[in-house]
Symmetry: C2
Subunit: 492 residues, 2 copies
Amino acid sequence: MGKAITARNEDYSQWYNDLILKSELADYSAVRGCMIIKPYGYALWENMRDALDKMFKDTGHVNAYFPLFVPKSLFEAEEQNAEGFAKECAVVTHYRLKSDPDKKGKLIVDEEAKLEEELIVRPTSEAIIWNTYKNWIQSYRDLPILINQWANVVRWEMRTRLFLRTAEFLWQEGHTAHATKEEALFEARQMLDVYADFVENFMAVPVIKGSKTPNERFAGAEDTLCIEALMQDGKALQAGTSHFLGQNFAKAFDVKFSDKNNKLEYVWATSWGVSTRLIGALVMAHSDDDGLILPPKIAPHQVVIVPIYKNDEQRAAIAHKVNEITASLKQLGIRVKYDDSDNARPGWKFAEYEMKGVPVRIAIGPKDLENNTAEIARRDTKEKKTISLDNIMGEVIYLLTDIQSNIFNKAKKHLDDHITRVNTWEEFVDVLENKTGFVSAHWDGTGETEEKIKELTKATIRCIPFDAEQEEGVCVLTGKPSKQRVLFAKAY
Amino acid sequence: MGKAITARNEDYSQWYNDLILKSELADYSAVRGCMIIKPYGYALWENMRDALDKMFKDTGHVNAYFPLFVPKSLFEAEEQNAEGFAKECAVVTHYRLKSDPDKKGKLIVDEEAKLEEELIVRPTSEAIIWNTYKNWIQSYRDLPILINQWANVVRWEMRTRLFLRTAEFLWQEGHTAHATKEEALFEARQMLDVYADFVENFMAVPVIKGSKTPNERFAGAEDTLCIEALMQDGKALQAGTSHFLGQNFAKAFDVKFSDKNNKLEYVWATSWGVSTRLIGALVMAHSDDDGLILPPKIAPHQVVIVPIYKNDEQRAAIAHKVNEITASLKQLGIRVKYDDSDNARPGWKFAEYEMKGVPVRIAIGPKDLENNTAEIARRDTKEKKTISLDNIMGEVIYLLTDIQSNIFNKAKKHLDDHITRVNTWEEFVDVLENKTGFVSAHWDGTGETEEKIKELTKATIRCIPFDAEQEEGVCVLTGKPSKQRVLFAKAY
C-alpha cells in the first residue's frame, strides 16, 4: 500500500484527496479540472447508475440521448429565461486543425474552418431538449414525455475537486413534459423521493428533503426541491435536485399542445439530476483514516477472500475450498473476489481492501482448512471472528445486511446530532463555528438577509425542510417576524 | 401510422431514412450532423451495450472513464505517429460567453476567456489514455491493463447519415496494454472474435473476419482486424475493428515498463471499438418495406400483446387474462408489452408494431377468451396462426428462438450468394455493377493498385479474409502475380 493517508482530524480536505487517489476511485488528468474515473470508481458508479436506472424505469421513465452540443442561439433562448451557464461553458468555435507552416509537427486551429455559429458543450440539456420537444408535442396525446438521459456535461468551474466539482462530470438528467401543473408538481416531488430513497437505502446516507430559497433555485425553475446530506466534517452537501420548471421552458422554446378541448396551452415541465458528485458524498459520509467504507448494496466487491499459505500445496488446497464458497456466494448474487495473487502478502492485501472499503473480508489458512473454519472481518467496525465454514453463507448475508444498516444508522445519528435549533445570532455563529452541521433558525424570508448571512458566516440556506412545522419567531439576523425555521449550513 | 415509407427497390437510401424516423429509432437535431437517439432506439442500444459489456467483462475487462477533451499537445503527439483526426475535430477555444454589448439578449464569445491551449473534443481516446497509462505503468506487475470505455466521440464528418455517420456518436473503445507482443496480438484477435460473436449471435448479422490492407488501417496501427457485413442493397459495412498497435503509442507517449529481468521495454497495445453505427447495420441487414425486423435477443419488446375489444367490459376481461400471460412471460425474462391504449385501433397498432419490428405479436379478442385461444404472428415471415392459450409460453419461446435463427440464416444466405470469385477485370466490374456484394479477386498487394481500383469502381478492399486459402493467381487489374484473393466491395 505504500504510505498511509492523511488523518481526517489533521486535514480533512487532504484526507479526502489522498483517499480518492489511494483507493483508486479516480485520478487527475492532463486536462484542467477534468478527472479520470478509474476502474474501481467506475464499477461503483455502474452500481449506483444501475440502481437508479431501475428506479427511473419503475416509475415509467425511458432513456434517450441528445446531442453534446447546444447551438449558441438555443443557449440564448434559455439564458433570456434567466442567466445561467454562459459564464462557465466550453465553446467550440472551429471544426478543424491544420499543420503549423512555421513549426514542424505542430498543429494550429484552421481559421478557414470557423463555425458559422458557435457550439456550447452542454452544461445541462434543457435548451437542446426543449427545442426538440417542440417538434414532438402537438396534442395532449403526446404527453406526458418522461425521458431521462445518462450523459457527460461540462461546466468550466474555476476551483475543482475530485468528484465534488469537476469541469466534466457524468450525470443523469430527467426532462419531463406534462399537460397539467399538478402532474408536473407530482413528478418533481416523486423524483426527489426517488433520489432520497436511493441515497438513504443504497448509499446509506441520510438526507433532509426540502425546497431551495428563490436565491438558490436553478435558473428557470419555479421551485427547486433538494436533498441535503451532512458530511463528517459538519459541512452540508446537496446530493440531488428536482426542479418544477412551470411553463418557463415551454415559453422560451414555444412548446404548446392542444388539450382535450382543442385549446392551445403551454406545456408544464420538470427536470432533475444527480451526478458523480454523489461519489464524493459517499466517500465523505462514511470513510475513516484507514480508507473507504462502502455500503454493501453498491460496493464493487461485497466480499473479498484472502488465502494465507506458505507453499503451492497449501495454496491449491485453499483454492479448492474457496472455489466452492465463491460459487455458492455468486449464486446468491453476492459480488465476491478471490485474491490469491502472488505479488503481495496477506497483511498488505488486508490493508488494501480496507482502503478500498470492501464490506466483508474472509481469510483462510491451512489451520482453518483443518478445522473447517475461516476468519471473517467487517470493514465498518473492524470486528472479526472465527466462524465455521458450515455457517459461512448465513454469516455473509447477515453481515452485508448489518453493515448496510449500521453505517446508515451511524450517519443518521451524526446528522441528528448536528441539527441545532438556535434563536439568537450569537448561538447561530457559535454553532456554525464550533459545533458545525445544520443550524435551524428563523429567517425573515428576504434574499438580502440571506446574502448578508452568507457574507458574515459563509453559511447558506440549504433548504426549507418539507417537514418544518409552522412556528412564530423572529429572524436571527434582522429580528423581523418569521413563520418557520430554515436550515443553514456551510456547504460543499 | 400516417403514410407508409418509401419502398426499398424504389430508393434504398430514402427507405432507410424513412424507416429510422418512422420506427422512432432516431430524429434529426438542431446541431449539424448530430442526431437524437429516441427512446426506442436507445432501448435497442442499451440491450446491445449490455450484451457487449457482459462479454467484455467475461473476458477480463473493466470499464473506466477518461476526459472528453484532449489537449492539443497530446493530440500532436498522436498525429506525429500518423496523420489521423486533425482534419475533422471539434475544437474548444474559449471557456466563457458574455452578453453582446451591441445586441440585447445575444451572447458572444468572451475573448478574455481564451484557452491557453486549445482542447479537442475526443475523436477517439488513444492520446489521453496513453498519456495516462504512462503514470500507471512502471513494472510488468502493472500489466496487463484491460480497460474499456463507453463514451461519446465527435468527428466532424462532412456528409452525415442517421446512425451510419454522425458528427457525434456513442461507442465503446477498449484500450489495453501488455508486456509482450504475443499477448497484444492475442487480445486484438480475441476482441475481434467477441465482436463477431455479438454481431452474429445477437444482431443475427453474419460477418466476414479479416485484416485491413495497410491503406485502410487505423492511423498508428500495425494491423487492423475487422468484421465486414453485407447490407441488403449489396453494399458492405464495416461493423467493428480491433487494432494491434504494436509499440507505436507507447513510443509516442513514452510508456515503458521494467520486465522480470529489470529491463526497460516499451509497452504493447491494442484498441478496439464498435459504435451506434451497428444500429444502422442492423436496420439495413434485416428490415423490409413494412418496417424494422429486430432480432429477438436485442429487441426492446420481444412480444407485444394487442387486445381487440368493443367495450369496457370486454377490455377488462381481456386485461385480466393478459395480466396472467404477461406475468408468466416476464418471469421467464421475456420483454413483453401490453398495449391496451385507447387512442388507436388494433389495425393501426398492428402496423405500428410491424414498423417497430417487434418479433412476436399476440392479438386477443372476446371470441379468443371464449375459446381459450389467441392469434400469434411473427414479424419476420408474417405468418400467423391461432393457438391455445395453454400452449402460449411454449409458442412464444419457440418463435423467439426460431425468428432469431431464421433472420440470421436469411442474411447468411444473402451473404453467401453475394461473394463472387472473379478472375478478370471484366467480370470484376460486371459483378460490382450488376450483382453487387463482395468480389473475391486477386490483387497484386500494392497500395497504388488498390487506389486505382477504387478510382475506377468505387470499390475498396474490405478485408484480407482470415480463412483465405493460399492460391496462385494474377491481379485483376495489373496482371501481376498474387498469392491469395482479397474481398472488394462498395461500402458504407
